[in-house]
Symmetry: D2
Subunit: 349 residues, 4 copies
């Protein structure tokens, strides 16, 4: 192992899912990163590029069995794993000085019993939860810079939190009656063999799911409550789109008869954010405009000049909703330009 | 022209759009119908099956120039035209005893100035508007049986009205704060050469549109107000799905702390309706389950047993949202079994 | 069990796959059929309409465990099973007088060792193979009428055989150098939980597969050889389309400098076939024109008036390529109008 | 205008099509390029990012009316225009020292009468055609380095030429009987308002087109003939895929009973090519593996070890098939690293 002293050696645990390959795609183009290890128990020994042929010629690395000692040689480790995995490995890695960026849900919820209820298992290291920083830079940038353990937001939460943020910070809307009608591309469901996610089951169709309750609901409510500094009431209905990438959230809140310049409010709040783009008044963002990019695009509207505000938010669920946001957090943690490796535009058409 | 005395001769004005070819597909299988004429000024002389190859071998008819005398020989004429066309021809045809089923927006709005504002032209025969029956059988079945002129509901309005109907009839929800977050397949935009509707512009993407105002909004508000017997406040946000057929409406209303069995309410209201199917509690309808069929599927849910009711509605925008509903109206007008020609299940997968 | 004496009671073994639900969709609309039983070991006890919501209201039947005695009460049994299943049950059912329509590959290949090589298992009842009739009505109509056991052709073979048929019967092309470049919708891969068939893996993409060898190759070669009355040499390359239904085969053969009216040849050969439609010269068939229909559409072309003939063939792999053809065979076996239950046009758009 | 002396100022004529926006996407990330002008007569004055929202924040430039003086201030001008446009402007720009990279068909065919027949108009500057270099680096790298005028290959030709190249150079196959069965995503048809290219007309469907003759046929035949050093006979059948980007060519040729290591042949021929990737034996490339990337992936196969060789080729029609190849040519012309701005992997999933 010959390390370039100018590069930061990183590891990825759980590289065979879609957030894993997306991390690789982004980090391959990152000028300050050396990918030291990528683990997968199931695919150990297989070349990464055999599983993900887009990476042929870009990455000469094979999946390895997760190994604490090998990971401990990295300065940072990303977890792109199902919930429950990071909890088992993070304590040891933190002790050995590794910084952790967890893309799973393991450290997102501060309320441990709530986590255990929604994820249906005991939490493996509840004592670390309060030390984890929720990795949404638009809210927690300074805390992220100093963090040792980042809990990256979920894909739906990122879109809903960024969409409601200016309204809640300004205290303009009724926090007891918020609605998020969201729709996600299928990659949000992961790379798992399930009949429900076959092309034949989803293409040329659309449906809601999880109306009675979705695991992202408590995470979103926690995040909205943090911003509003009070508990909020949210109705969250996710839908499944027959597309690969992209989340679109349509948010509804009650303004009453307040007289406020919503466009200016949003533009000012996000004026210096590199990855939030407030669209011109009267426009509506398309998910394809952020395909493959870390940008979140937002439009705000007051239909018929009435009492309801409608916010439209798009992001790529695998980038700003997962791996791109993880890299953004990484950049902040290592005091790099926040946009390193994330500067490319979306792929359109 | 040799007429089978057991068949009802019908004509179609404007047969080159998607509602036109869908009318043909349904009427070809209708045991009581003879298709006498199908008009298109642009395609006159062209065989219908040359434009729509799925009909090869099923229909030996060419498009003809619209001609009042020829149409007057039909017992019923369907208008599958852009708005403004039916207004010009319907008065004469009614005078000559032809029954009219208009799939366009020409006779849907009772408020003429409102129509003229949204459609940006003077109304051609305002005196007929009050004689038109709004063709939603689940509300107006008896009036439809006696009608001479049917204004078929729009595709979005059908889904929103059927979804809110039981709640509004029962007076259970706050009528001043209704939300319809709807999504439509692209065939709803018609068969027109527009860059915005190219596959390359829409596939693998999703967006809202018309947030500031959509022509279906006043129609839906009129329909909801009729059911509720009072004006309603509706926020309506349509979205565009990268699918061909299908509308999905996600409806939100405030129940407060009412204790009501929503599942029973919906099942009872629609128990005898042949084309409304209330799904079991906890399920969510998929648009593909109604692909090509006249069924409207509805699920009702109260997330977290809170104050908000969520209703999920799917229909095929070209069938229950347009041509199938037109045939259903036709069956009622001619005292036929309401389901004739409409009995096939959806195409799944 | 009260039987309508005018109806033919049928059973379906293996009803949870796509050919199973497609059989149900077609048979529900068949005026001479009563569906007596539909079996699935895995889903026994579950209502069919719970698995396939398009059938809600159309079919009040649950999956049952496969039971020979129950199936023996049917006049005909369809097998919509993976290979190997029919072999185990067919002998007993035939003995008890049941007629069999097998949609699987179990009885298609007359060469038993070849079958055993490609399907990698011993054949369960080789003695029945020679009694099975290959169920392609355009070739074997009279034999089908008298058959007790039908081996329905595979989806690819149907398209390739119908495409080459007029050329081979007329002895016009070099049989040692035939090429079939075919492409199938994903439903051809069945309703199985496989990562490779996820929407995320296939949408917005295209690939060949099985170039080194596909199980349909020996079946096609056998069928082509039967038509040509001599062994043929075929290069067969299947591809996977990001669509649900539809097969498109592009066929290439060498005419040399023969002077022949190909259009007339094809039109004459298929003039009386209810489910083969020869397109006008210069046109090209679209798979959507046969979506949901039993039609096979063919166009024939001689590019640049040279030595190569190109034939374009489309079918719906689940209808003419599987369940529709099975019903066509059923109609012939029971001396019914061959088109019963199959008369509807394709769903376009 | 303040120029960075380290940057090469370029202009783009015809920036509103898909090859135009793709050029922008690639050149935005190119470290040696300054985009000086992008023209569009129809959209003059409109901000580029208003038309292509993926570029918001990446490009602060508006479309301008094509102006020779302004373009002459650029060192290189890309034409991303319909055929016929470059012919009118290129002579003057060349005279003024500007280097030209033409993505249109204007300078591809050396046979002027053939060009005039296929493009149905007189050629505007036939005297320049013989000075143009056909911009396929894998064949013409050295000539490209010295060229003033590049005719970029068409999207289909790129895939077919690269696929057949090793076989023809080695003289292994019968050049009188080559077949290219190709399939393209819809972006190949450009950003034009046509009913045929609506999502509703193409999605969930597949078809061949242009079987009787496609404009790329003479270009491919010229290119194959150049490689083979003799005229070739090609049957070319293009198909239209319901995807946005991607071309897949399945090539067939006759090897007879030659004993040759095809895998080694291809690997050796392309060993040093940065943008041709020979896949391992037995694999098949997917178009998604090159989505958004300049890579061309090729697999070669000899089914059943017989006399036919099958080559599978994928590329992104907008990148290696158009704008990426244009940038690759640009890099060569300006003596830059050939891969500058083109180093990113494909977007998968």
């Amino acid at each position: 192992m010959v390390e370039d002293p100018n590069l930061i050696r990183i590891g990825i645990v759980g590289g065979t899912g879609y957030t894993g390959v997306e991390l690789l795609r982004l980090l391959i183009g990152h000028p300050k990163v050396e990918i030291g290890a990528i683990t997968s128990r199931a695919e150990a020994g297989i070349a990464v590029a055999d599983l993900f042929p887009n990476l042929r010629g870009h990455l000469d690395l094979s999946f390895s069995i997760p190994d604490i000692d090998m990971l401990a040689e990295c300065e940072a480790v990303f977890f792109a794993t199902p919930h429950g995995v990071a909890q088992a490995m993070v304590p040891e890695l933190l002790t050995r000085g590794v910084r952790i960026i967890d893309l799973s849900a393991d450290f997102r919820l501060r309320n441990i019993p709530l986590w255990e209820k929604w994820y249906n298992q005991p939490h493996g290291c509840p004592e670390l939860v309060e030390k984890a920083v929720y990795g949404l830079p638009e809210i927690n940038r300074e805390a992220i810079r100093k963090a040792r353990l980042i809990a990256c937001p979920g894909c739906y939460p990122t879109s809903v939190l960024l969409g409601f943020l200016p309204l809640l910070e300004a205290g303009l809307v009724d926090t007891s009656d918020l609605i998020a009608s969201s729709a996600s591309g299928v990659s949000g469901a992961g790379r798992q063999a399930k009949i429900d996610n076959l092309l034949t089951e989803l293409n040329d169709s659309f449906k809601a799911y999880g109306v009675a309750g979705h695991r992202h609901l408590p995470e979103i409510e926690q995040g909205l409550g943090d911003i509003a500094r009070q508990p909020v009431g949210l109705t969250f209905v996710p839908h499944l789109l027959p597309i690969i990438r992209g989340i679109h959230s349509t948010l509804y809140a009650n303004l009453g008869n307040l007289d406020v310049d919503l466009q200016a409010l949003y533009e000012q709040r996000y004026a210096t954010e590199p990855f939030v783009d407030v669209m011109p008044g009267g426009s509506a963002p398309q998910t394809r405009s952020v395909r493959g990019s870390n940008m979140c695009r937002i439009a705000v509207c007051r239909p018929g000049n009435g009492g309801k505000v409608v916010v439209l938010v798009v992001e790529d669920n695998l980038v700003k909703g997962a791996s791109g946001q993880a890299v953004q957090n990484f950049n902040l943690m290592f005091n790099l330009d926040e946009t390193l490796g994330l500067g490319h535009p979306g792929l359109l058409p």
